[in-house]
């Protein structure tokens, strides 16, 4: 299944032009938003999480993706609605990104769900939180972590949970 948020990167030359334009836009207005947050309102936050990061972005009718490479090498991908609201975040790399930053207003709910899920039994295992308004999955091992978080109620039409990756 193709990712509707990524498709435009490779599909044709006109989209490549769109990508270049958006790249310039995002490089001049670097931004990092939390889940549920509004991209335009938090343009300065990127400096807090990744002062030496690079960003790139592509856009599609139903969603756009902003990619940030943190100083640690971890790549964070933010999925935005056409209105610029973050509906999903995915990450992959040697370290887990700052979850407070990633989840914003969702953090407390995530924290209590994660702690309850872990409390049942001793041991380390992948985290899989599935609530009506918040899904968080975290996996991997030392030096190679991955995960994603999204709000199922914010997914744009035509976008599936599996597109957040």
């Amino acid at each position: 299944m193709k990712n509707p948020c990524r498709e435009k990167i490779y599909s044709n030359s006109s989209s490549a032009q769109i990508r270049i334009v958006l790249l310039l836009t995002f490089l001049s207005l670097p931004a990092f938003a939390s889940l549920g947050g509004d991209l335009s309102s938090v343009e300065s936050d990127r400096m807090k999480i990744a002062p030496s990061s690079t960003t790139s972005a592509v856009q599609h009718d139903s969603c756009s993706v902003q990619e940030i490479t943190e100083a640690s090498g971890t790549v964070v991908r933010e999925y935005l609605t056409p209105a610029g609201r973050v509906f999903g975040v995915a990450w992959q790399g040697p370290f887990t990104p700052d979850m407070h930053q990633i989840l914003g207003a969702y953090f407390d709910r995530y924290s209590s769900a994660a702690n309850e899920a872990r409390s049942g039994y001793l041991g380390h295992r992948p985290l899989d939180i599935r609530e009506p308004n918040l899904v968080v999955q975290s996996a991997g091992h030392m030096r190679a972590f991955s995960g994603r978080a999204y709000d199922p109620t914010l997914l744009p039409e035509g976008v599936s949970p599996n597109d957040v990756r």
Binding site: T96, D98, F107, D108, R125, S138, A139, R143, F145
Partner: protein, 510 residues
């Protein structure tokens, strides 16, 4: 060799600082002492070992020994050349005995050689492990525990610490600080003590100082090994990029960790590696090493030598990997005993035969094809620190609390799992996933369960991103002898470069 030199320099610098200095403008390079043999080792009871010392300023050394055994040196033996000592191991008294031989110059430079006296005809590279629920008040299922002896560097001031989780999924020794003897903290280039945040995949974490210890496991010795002393920072709060799920994710106690510590014997030589080493223009990664000064803990760089290192890579001979052997389990079982053997192909008890070898990618993963879902899981790995098989399969029902994060299928589910190494080697195994809630509640006295499984993400991984992994947790280790080799270490002859793993279902006890 490099590590030993590092340790020796630390000793002489510390001694120089202790002398007070007093602002001498002509900075003299402190003398260093080098011993041969240079790496701590076992010695058979009743035998002798000749030790040579070389001081960088050419001066003579004075020999001392603490612990078991005695020394004959230049003073005692007129015919012996200078800077040579002969260590005489005592006869065996029923248990291993520890000794530290130290050579010191008149200016105070010194070096030490730790020794462990072991009986004849017994392998010093084998340590017993047990699947027994662990040391905490809650049973820890499908977890292998062992013990280690941790000593103040250069001394025989040691503590035996039991209930240490054997974890092939992480690297380095991490022990509750409350269980440790007094150790020397590791400091960064600014002279500040290095702390570490070590995160797990469930976003729980361990915090603690990096400290040097002489770690002894049966006849093996890792001298001046950086380990993590688990304890919250005194007077500081843990940074938010570490506390990924809030402070409740802090595994800073026996009950939270389910163990007194973790013996990480994975496939990397350090826990962080190059990502934590200072580079021009770079900033240190979050959720790794920190220094705590001026009111807050902030991310810091740590050199490879300062990072928490793989204990086995500090051993003299058996330093290229490990062999973990657990008995087979069908359904559920009570306490089990097994073996952790250090080295692969370094002794007659850890030789690899014609087993299929699976080499790993840059992220220490290999590929699994899971027939039941048709998925190709390109980030799969072995992990004795995971107590179940974890894989993505939305069709299998997950359990209700308190067994959330495990599978609870209505009937047992069969899996056909094909492992594929980077070197294209292949092997197919068949596993059964049982109902975790039934297994755990119907067998309250048992600690080993062959059919534990759990979810690992739901996303597709056809593009290689996301949680794309089949985790071979402890159930895979039951009934198998599993060899793993460490990146950068010398593999056995006629085998690929490390890291890789291999297994056999027929292997004698070591």
């Amino acid at each position: 060799m490099r590590r030993v030199a590092f340790g020796i320099i630390l000793v002489s610098l510390a001694l120089a600082a202790g002398c007070g200095g007093g602002g001498s403008a002509s900075s003299k390079v402190p003398a260093t002492v080098t011993l041969t043999p240079s790496v701590g080792r076992s010695i058979n009871a009743g035998s002798t070992l000749t030790i040579n010392a070389a001081a960088s300023d050419g001066s003579l050394v004075t020999w001392t020994v603490s612990g078991a055994g005695t020394l004959a040196n230049a003073t005692q033996l007129p015919n012996q050349p200078p800077n040579v000592a002969t260590y005489l191991a005592p006869s065996f008294t029923g248990q291993n005995a520890y000794a530290v031989v130290t050579a010191t110059t008149a200016s105070g430079a010194s070096a030490y050689l730790p020794l462990t006296v072991v009986p004849f005809n017994v392998f010093g590279n084998v340590q017993g492990v047990s699947v027994d629920g662990g040391p905490s008040s809650h049973s820890y299922p499908n977890a292998a525990f062992t013990s280690v002896d941790v000593c103040t560097t250069g001394s025989t001031n040691c503590k035996t610490i039991n209930g240490i989780l054997v974890d092939t999924g992480t690297v380095g020794l991490r022990i509750l600080a409350s269980a440790l003897p007094t150790l020397t903290p590791v400091k960064d280039s600014s002279g500040d003590i290095l702390n570490e945040c070590f995160q797990f995949e469930d976003q729980s974490y361990i915090w603690g100082q990096v400290e040097l210890a002489d770690v002894r496991i049966n006849g093996e010795i890792a001298a001046s090994l950086p380990i993590q002393a688990i304890a919250d920072p005194s007077g500081y709060s843990i940074p938010s990029d570490c506390a990924a799920t809030g402070t409740e994710g802090d595994k800073d106690s026996l009950d939270a960790l389910g163990a007194n510590g973790i013996l990480g014997i994975g496939v990397e030589p350090q826990d962080c590696g190059a990502a934590c080493v200072a580079a021009a223009g770079a900033t240190p990664p979050g959720a790794a090493y920190y220094t705590c000064t001026g009111g807050s803990c902030t991310a810091a760089f740590a050199s490879l030598a300062q990072q928490v290192n793989h204990p086995a890579t500090f051993f003299g001979i058996d330093n290229n990997g490990t062999v973990l052997q657990l008995p087979s389990v069908s359904g559920s079982a009570g306490n089990l005993t097994g073996f952790l053997t250090f080295g692969v192909g370094t002794q007659s008890n850890n030789q690899i035969g014609t087993q299929t070898i699976f080499t790993l990618d840059a992220n220490d993963n290999f590929t699994v094809k899971l027939s039941e879902t048709g998925q190709t899981l390109t980030s799969s790995f072995l992990d004795s620190g995971s107590n179940a098989f974890f894989f993505p399969d939305d069709a299998i029902t997950t359990c209700a609390s308190p067994y959330a994060l495990f599978f609870c299928p209505a009937a047992p589910i069969s899996l056909t799992v094909t492992s594929i190494g980077v070197n294209k080697s292949q092997d197919t195994n068949y596993f059964t996933i049982d109902n975790a809630s039934d297994l755990l509640t119907n067998n309250p006295g048992d600690v080993a369960f062959s059919g534990l499984g759990g979810p690992n993400g739901t996303g597709l991984c056809s593009d290689g991103t996301g949680a794309c992994s089949f985790i071979f947790g402890v159930p895979f280790f039951y009934g198998r002898t599993i060899f793993t080799t460490v990146r950068g270490q010398s593999p056995p002859i006629n085998t690929p470069a490390a890291p890789w793993w291999a297994y056999t279902t027929s292997f004698p006890a070591p």
